[in-house]
Amino acid sequence: MSMTDRLLRGVTLRPRSPAEGNGEVPANGYLIVDAAELGTRVSAWEAVKLARELHRPHALDVIERVFSRFQELHGDRSFRDDPAVVGGIAELDGRSVVVVAQQKGASTEENIQRNFGMPHPEGYRKGIRLYRLAERFHLPLVTLIDTPGAYPGPEAEERGQAEAIARSIETMTRLRTPIVAIVLGEGGSGGALALGVADVVLALENAIYSVISPEGCAAILWRSASEAERAAKALKLAGPDLLELGIVDGLIPEPKGGAHHDHDATAASIKAALVPQLDRLSRLGPAELLAARYERFRRMGVVVEPATEPPAPKRPWWKRMLGR
């Protein structure tokens, strides 16, 4: 049974076709909106490895190639500047945009400096500050997602990691400016979603997006991190799966062999996908935009709802007597 069948079977709640996305992503050469268009699919584990490839283009590699005149803005204005999140103002085809991204390193030293792309709460708070900036000046917001997850250490707990992520999600759901999110590599759980509440969510072909890392999932369900490969398959975290589930609206094709083989071509592919989306969204007013964004997430999820609710079981006589 295909996933689509599975999704539609026995589901009375808002059945949707996978390619529906937010309803308006154009099927053009730059964007894969139907998983059937993909010739061969890499295995889930292969996708995990490609998404984590050390030499995969990371946020700043993409920003410098897709945008021009990028000026980075630092700091969350209350604690410090988190190097795992970069953001600023840039130009894209003559328009100003705000970019917020998670930044991994391409070497061990760089990764230590960037905390392996795992943001602290102040990273998300920097993001929130820049989202607000975009809103205030009516600039479209582009977010680039690439993180194993939010940093889970003691300092992050002390400074309210959960609150920072929650607030970031909340801010994005109501931000009165167009938002496009692109998953570049790893979309690790809530730490990724904090940048991922957008009008259009795209992913590079071999990117992954998951509720938990395959290793974490394996450790909990199979009690062994070495079962990660199985977990990766079960979690349906690879690009085509995400497209079929409606988590992403389109996939951006990567150069042959993966994005790490050609940063320039990857960036060109991203730019070609991004520009038409921003063009389309910029024509919508804030009310339309917010309503569509609400609907995009409102219909996520698959539940079974019997047409008629069964009558509530009769309460035993003694409960009625006791007024419980």
Binding site: I169, L193, I220, V303, V304
Partner: protein
């Protein structure tokens, strides 16, 4: 016919009559424990509470009307670990008698009309999948339509792995609905109970106009196993407890169970929605 206690957690108790407090070791007579709201009479340890018992303690007597009780999980991923996900759901349903990890409905608390969503840790660790997301979102939308308020009592390990990224997206779905409540000036009280972690805390759990927590509840972003695996160390003792989270400024009050109903009633009464402003009514 044998008389049965109308509620109680006999199944998880070692004996039908006595329970040992995991904190102070005191042997507690079950009837007395239930009468004391499942709080240890000696050391005030707060035992976990099932959703229905919690609702009994929280809302005005007889005011609760349940909604969406029939909503059930599908299996969008065809997920199989040690057993298939539908079997896991079925097992949890049989065990707890609920269809998923949250019970929602309309009630009054201290006379104030409100929508209530109470999570149940017994149901697959209170994990948040599509059903939890849908039920809480509908509760928020009902509060918006009725121009009332929302109370969510969380008790959850986070998003439900077996529904993959769809579970993750429930965070955004619920938070978006809460945003509409906030825009309409309607109050939302978040109550964090033992344990509230992961995606639940990182979304609606943290976003209450008022955030309350039960004493010594485990409240934190990352589970011990994730932290252990990622940074190779355990979090220091006392981390991720209500009192710690209070001290660091992420909850407003730590409230003992016995005072919870009155405290919520106070906040709902003082944050009463302004009358007449129906711009956002659906």
């Amino acid at each position: 016919m044998r008389l049965r206690m109308p509620f109680g957690r006999r199944k998880e108790l070692p004996s039908h009559l006595w329970t040992q407090c995991p904190d102070c070791g005191e042997m507690l007579f079950n009837k007395q424990l239930v009468r004391n709201m499942n709080v240890c009479t000696k050391c005030d340890h707060h035992f976990k509470l099932g959703a229905r018992e919690r609702i009994e303690l929280l809302v005005d007597k007889g005011s609760f009307v349940e909604h969406d009780a029939a909503l059930r999980s599908a299996d969008p991923l065809g997920f199989v670990d040690s057993k298939p996900y539908p079997q896991r759901i079925e097992a949890a349903r049989v065990k707890g008698g609920a269809n998923d990890a949250v019970i929602t409905g309309t009630a009054t608390i201290g006379g104030a009309p409100t929508e209530v969503a109470v999570m149940d840790f017994e149901f697959i660790g209170g994990s948040m999948g599509s059903v939890v997301g849908e039920k809480i979102t509908r509760a928020a939308e009902r509060a918006l339509a009725a121009h009332s308020s929302l109370v969510i009592v969380s008790s959850s390990g986070g998003a439900r792995m077996q529904e993959g990224a769809l579970a993750l997206m429930q965070m955004a779905k619920i938070v978006a609905a809460l945003g509409r409540l906030a825009d309409a000036g309607l109050p939302y009280v978040s109550v964090l109970t033992d344990p509230t972690t992961g995606g639940v805390l990182a979304s609606y759990g943290s976003l209450g106009d008022v955030v309350l927590a039960e004493p010594k509840a485990l409240i934190g972003f990352s589970g011990a196993r994730v932290t252990d695996q990622t940074i190779g160390e355990r979090l220091p003792a006392g981390f991720q407890r209500s009192e710690f989270v209070l001290a660091h400024g992420f909850v407003d009050q730590v409230v003992p169970r016995a005072q919870l109903r009155d405290r919520i009633a106070f906040f709902l009464a003082s944050l009463r929605p302004s009358a007449g402003d129906a711009r956002w009514s659906l």
